[in-house]
């Protein structure tokens, strides 16, 4: 299919989708009219706060709240001793005497104002016994290491049993013995903060109308939040009502700390019988919220001298911190580990390791940005070892229709990656620049690099990708729609509105999106995995289709005709073949209402079942995949280590573009996040304690750091998603870091195996290479292969990674062929 917007804008023939429509929530957000949870004030509302652990691992030996309770203005002090059940799911604790990381809480306080609250928290008399702790994967896996979840068999040896996922295809071991060359590499990534503008906030209000408690909050999954709150209070889910507020950013992160914050506020509300607002400070949010999983990526590749990949083996280990509820991420990681390549033999194992450090959770891409960085760099290195051009190498091994991916799923639908590569390369003059930049000696060196990738759309075999959709009309012709999925800044309300407009063929201006209230629409799962437009909107579309049939029947009655003779087009009911026979939508709706016809429909959508065997790591993992290629252009200052990202060109397979402006917005934000992941971000954690607690030290890119971003949207024919749409929220960010690192390599010749790499770490690498070149006793290439090891600079590339770059290639050593 052609490039979207390239003179083919209406090629798919849609009326209200496949084109721009202003975001339905834009005006409220830019004028400040939108309300976030922290904006709410209820009568008699108290403020809640939490006492966080001063240690990465400790046991509370005594706690006395008498003094705290006596402080004027303090209305309740609760500790772990007051809980009916400390532990919720993912082993998270609402409060606990065993504090497993800095974000764990032992006590909570409700007070009439912020000052009393601070005094109350400070007056809790508490003593701790600090416990031996583990912080790194290596420490956690060492023999006799302290256990993060002592006595829990599911966490034996600090490995979470449920986190083990695998992908298998062919026989990698046997293939290694037959290959011309074996190449091993290790890459590493650091934890990354979501940096959403709104910190976690909730207002919990005792509410007999709701059952027991209503909680106002902005969650990535209000139904999970309901579960946290119901568990904390020990009541059925039906007694808890979550009313979703405007979300000030999530990127996957408004889950664990958000749920705990809502639960803690609810516990205090229950204890005081008053509404309680709890808002995390930025520091608390950074300390206690989840981060992008830091991964250790160990690869072994077997390849023949003709460049054909024969076997791929990967052990991918994530440091999950103290808690974990993201086993399914490892399913996604296992399927995508080898990248968008056809490799006959694959063996992938993924697992998570507990440590007493910041917890990891879902973050935009859900392992893909880490894995794409690792595997795309890996393939560049493999091509280099073979003396091949890496783009030619990638094209040679690329997945094609009919091929099987790493878990043996046959690629049934169109793969437009070759077209995307050709057009993105042409638009960026990629090949010429890449060749021209190879041999620069200037202080400032240009570089161009690329990454190509694919992504399974929706949840796939991870869990049921089911959701509820609701549509109803009023007697005046206005329409209300709802979904069990939430607007968290991605543009869901707007794209769902356009989809209903298209289905009913009425102008989107007449449609209002309600938003989640868990008392009004069933649990539709998490708004994540870039599933909403692709899969979640299907139920809304089904509901609109059913409602349209009811309205057509009413219109037919009014025309004295059969429903099959009536059509609804652009807000008008028309009698087929009779040009003047037209009734406005509103008129039909009025009659529809006053004749008692069904005016509202709730429908459920569940995609066709996939046949995936988790234990074997084989089968049909996702209904379809989207494809993409990112080209990054940089300039490296070799005397300061500064990398200026000058231009990023993003080519994505959208299937069907619903609203290109929203897609562009997703891509701009995705590039910014990818740039941070490559060059700036990376949380400094020392002995389990976070050193970057606010944005003065934790660097995210600002407007001045942003490159020029070029968006190239491609459409394809694929009926798996709503109106053929494919995912973009996560594809927008997943290839960016890999492309930037590839460009830095083009500019400098340096192979980078740990990200983020900031200017301090990069200059350290450059200087070490120069020093090595100056002292001739160093081995050729040794400097390039040394890890980015500026040890006092954790934000760039913190830890020594002694195994990184160990080229364990028996044939190389024996034959010396390089």
């Amino acid at each position: 299919m052609p490039l979207y917007g390239d003179g083919n804008k209406d090629s798919k023939g849609y009326t209200y989708i496949n084109k721009f429509f202003p975001r339905v929530d834009a005006k409220d957000k830019v004028t400040g009219r939108a309300k976030y949870a922290a904006d709410l004030t209820l009568p008699n509302m108290l403020l809640g706060g939490a006492l966080f652990s001063p240690y990465p691992h400790a046991q509370v030996t005594s706690v006395n709240t008498e003094k705290a309770r006596s402080i004027p203005g303090v209305r309740a002090v609760l500790t772990f001793q007051d809980l009916r059940e400390e532990v919720s799911w993912g082993y998270y604790t609402f409060m606990s005497s065993r504090l497993r990381y800095q974000g764990d809480v032992s006590a909570i306080v409700a007070a009439e104002d912020g000052e009393s609250l601070a005094k109350g928290l400070a007056a809790i008399e508490i003593e701790y016994q600090e416990l031996p702790a583990v912080f790194t994967v290596a420490e956690a896996l060492a023999a006799g290491a302290p256990l993060v979840h002592e006595g829990n068999e599911e966490c034996a040896g600090n490995i979470w049993a449920h986190s083990r996922y695998r992908a298998r295809k062919g026989d990698a071991e046997a293939a290694f013995a037959q290959c011309d060359r074996l190449i091993e590499r290790v890459y590493e990534t650091l934890p990354v903060e979501h940096a959403y503008m709104e910190t976690e906030a909730a207002v919990a209000a005792p509410d007999p109308t709701a059952g027991l408690m209503t909680v106002y909050t902005g969650a990535v999954n209000p139904y999970f939040t309901r579960r946290w709150v119901a568990d904390a209070l020990g009541v059925p889910r039906a007694k808890i009502r979550i009313v979703q507020q405007t979300v000030g950013g999530s990127f996957g992160g408004k889950e664990e700390l958000l749920g705990l914050t809502a639960s803690r506020a609810a516990l205090l509300a229950q204890a005081t019988d008053c509404p309680v607002k709890m808002v995390m400070s930025r520091e608390q949010s950074i300390i206690a919220s989840t981060k992008r999983h830091p991964f250790l990526l160990k690869y072994k590749v077997g390849v023949n001298n003709d460049g054909r990949l024969q076997a791929f083996q990967a052990e991918l280990i994530e440091n999950v911190g103290a808690f974990h509820m993201h086993e399914f991420m490892n399913f996604r990681a296992s399927v995508h580990a080898a990248g968008v390549y056809n490799i006959p033999n694959v063996k992938v194992d993924v697992f998570g390791v507990f440590t007493n450090t910041v917890t990891a959770g879902a973050m935009r891409g859900y392992s893909s940005p880490q894995l794409i960085f690792g595997s795309e760099q890996l393939y560049e290195e493999v091509a280099g070892e073979l003396g091949m051009d890496y783009v030619a190498f990638k094209r040679l091994n690329m997945l094609r229709p009919g091929d099987e991916n790493a878990c043996g799923q046959k690629m049934e639908s169109d793969i437009i990656l070759p077209e995307i590569l050709d057009q993105v390369f042409a638009a960026t003059d990629f090949e010429r620049k890449r060749a021209a930049y190879r041999e620069q000696q200037d202080v400032r060196r240009k570089g161009v690099g690329m990454a190509m990738f694919y992504r399974g759309c929706g949840l796939g075999a991870e869990s049921p990708d089911a959701s509820a959709g609701f549509v109803c009309v009023h007697d005046d012709g206005s329409v209300m729609i709802n979904s069990g999925l939430v607007e968290n800044g991605q543009g869901l309300k707007t794209s769902f509105t356009q989809i209903v407009a298209e289905t009913l063929s009425i102008p989107p201006e007449t449609i209002h999106f309600i938003g989640v209230d868990t008392h009004t629409i069933p649990d539709s799962g998490i708004t994540a995995a870039s599933r909403s437009t692709v899969m979640g909107a299907q139920s809304v579309k089904l509901a609109a289709e059913e409602l349209r049939d009811y309205l057509l029947a009413t219109a037919a009655m009014m025309f004295h005709a059969e429903p099959s003779q009536v059509e609804l087009r652009e807000g008008m009911f028309r009698l087929t073949g009779v040009p003047d026979a037209v009734i406005p939508f509103q008129t039909v709706c009025n009659v529809h209402h006053w004749t008692g016809q069904q005016a509202g429909v709730m429908r459920w959508f569940k995609p066709a079942p996939l046949s995936y065997d988790m234990a074997a790591g084989q089968g049909k993992a996702f209904p379809t995949y989207s494809y993409g290629c990112v080209v990054a252009e940089v300039e490296v200052d070799t005397l300061t280590g500064e990398v200026t990202v000058e231009r990023v060109t993003c080519g994505h397979d959208l299937g069907t573009v619903i609203n290109h402006k929203i897609v562009e917005g997703q891509i701009y934000g995705g590039v910014l996040m990818g740039q941070g992941f490559a060059l700036m971000e990376g949380l400094a954690v020392k002995d389990g304690l976070i050193r970057h607690k606010n944005f003065d030290t934790y660097m995210i890119a600002t407007a001045l750091d942003l490159p020029e971003i070029r968006v190239m949207l491609f459409e394809s024919d694929d009926d798996a998603g709503t109106y053929g749409a494919k995912s973009i929220g996560e594809p927008a960010t997943e290839g960016v870091a890999a492309a930037i690192i590839s460009a830095v390599k083009n500019a400098t010749g340096l192979t980078i195996r740990q990200i983020p790499i900031n200017k301090v770490s990069l200059l350290t690498l450059l200087n070490r290479r120069s020093q090595a070149a100056a002292t001739e006793d160093s081995l050729a290439g040794a400097t390039e292969d040394s890890p980015a090891g500026a040890k006092e600079n954790p934000q760039g590339a913190a830890t020594e990674n002694p195994k990184a770059g160990a080229t364990e290639n028996p044939k190389d050593k024996e034959g010396g062929e390089a």
Binding site: L639, R691, T702, K759
Partner: protein, 284 residues
Amino acid sequence: MSGFAFQSAGSLEEALAVLARTEGETRIVAGGTNVVPAIRDGRQPPALLLDISRLDGLRGLREEKGKLWIGALTTLAELAASPLLAERAPALYQAANSFADPNTRGRATVAGNITNASPGADMAPPLLVLEAEVFLTGPAGHRSLPLREYLTGPFRAALTRDEIVTHLTISPQVHSAFIKIGLRRAMAISVATVAVALEKATDGAVTACRIAFGALGPTALRAPQAESVFLGRQPDSALFAAAAAAIAGDIQPRDGLRGTREYRLSAAGAILERAFSLAYYKEA
């Protein structure tokens, strides 16, 4: 934010009287860009915050007897937008423009930046090379001292508890420049900064040279050894290499959250060459 009293002075005399009366339990606040974050971070607040932001006599930027007079309350936004500064003292102009972001520049004051005396204070290196003199007033009357004596240590300035900075003067130098390295391009605390001011003869030989670094020692500091490398010479690559080598004797870089000693030392040489070249080739 609580636990302290707040008073806004209507005149310099009133402010001085309050300082005299409260014997050092008072902290002066103007733009608040250092004081407010410190209180928010949970550091012990002072008993009284004395706001001097209404003392309009302490604002402004003008030429006076061949020098530039800069009021203590002049904001970095005003410096960053000053054509006079751009023309006569590019180093200070460039430093003001590299500082934080437009919002913070709109509140932060020049005297606040140097009196806070952060080792990485962005205004300090350009003011050092422009031979800034700091003017103070207190119960004993007026006094002044060179900036290099005013900066006594990390977060320590030679301001007694009952004094207020009224203004600074600088010697304008068109051949001056400033370069900053931060971990991003806005809202970045410096990892290393350098300012250069020089004079040259008609044959191009350097006749006067002042170099100062920031974030590379306990305070912003002059670099006499690097300065002496350039004196009487015309810059070339060998000279820059010699200057970069000489820096090691001038600065005391340390490992920190934003950068390593190794990085700072290496990058300082690079930005010195660039700032020197900017200053040297600046058209008068």
